[in-house]
Point group: C2
Chain length 106, copies 2
DNA sequence: TCAGTATATAACCATACAGTAATGTGTCAA
DNA sequence: TTGACACATTACTGTATGGTTATATACTGA
């Protein structure tokens, strides 16, 4: 892969490297939500939630639909779910291995 | 998922959000390499390569083996390969869609 | 022990970005 | 048109981190 391609990959990972955005994605995984719903559930200030949602939208991870004065967001790319699942299963493996170190079966 | 778990996931994505580290991982994907080999191939300074490798090692993505004065690194967790493959295929889809916008079949 | 090589770490600076407050934009109802 | 609401954007500050230089550590051979 070229450096430019690796930089694009890195940018996508950077989008997912922020806990606040993962919280938003997790909430959206349960279904479409408005900004107000999301900021309430994630306990963020409005500007902060809006900014993070804009980042997710700029990278086409979420889709937005205006409905009156509300804007409803939803997950646009199932890739993010796959990515998070992969990382979660890795972390579970690591955690199990770490736990085994504390209580060996010797 | 709890906030603490999401933070751990975010930290792992942050490790992968640096082009230099992706370059190193890509080189290691071809097989084990020493620090000197990696810094030459990636055109990094020694301290920089060593620092990035330490980050990868701290997150158990690579394994290191001392052999005399040399240290050989190799990919320790195949998860990183899967993650990168997922992201790459997403980017290819996005690129194709973007290309279609410039030359519609209408 | 000493010199030389390979790697790791420390200290520093510059940049990027998350969170915040204030303000702007768009939509609806009256 | 005006007021109210939902959301987006701007400007700012503090913090985290990548790249660099200099130094420390680990190993080998003489």
């Amino acid at each position: 892969m070229s450096l430019a391609q690796l930089e694009a990959v890195a940018r996508l990972f950077a989008v997912l490297s922020e806990p606040s955005r993962l919280v938003l994605l997790q909430l959206l995984h349960a279904g479409p939500r408005t900004v107000t719903e999301l900021m309430a559930a994630a306990r963020m200030k409005q500007a902060n939630a809006s900014k993070h949602l804009s980042v997710l939208h700029a990278h086409r991870l979420v889709r937005r639909t205006r409905n009156g004065t509300c804007v409803k967001y939803e997950i646009a790319d199932p890739t993010v779910v796959s990515l998070c699942n992969l990382v979660c299963s890795k972390m579970q493996r690591d955690a199990k291995r770490a736990a085994a170190l504390f209580s060996p079966k010797i």
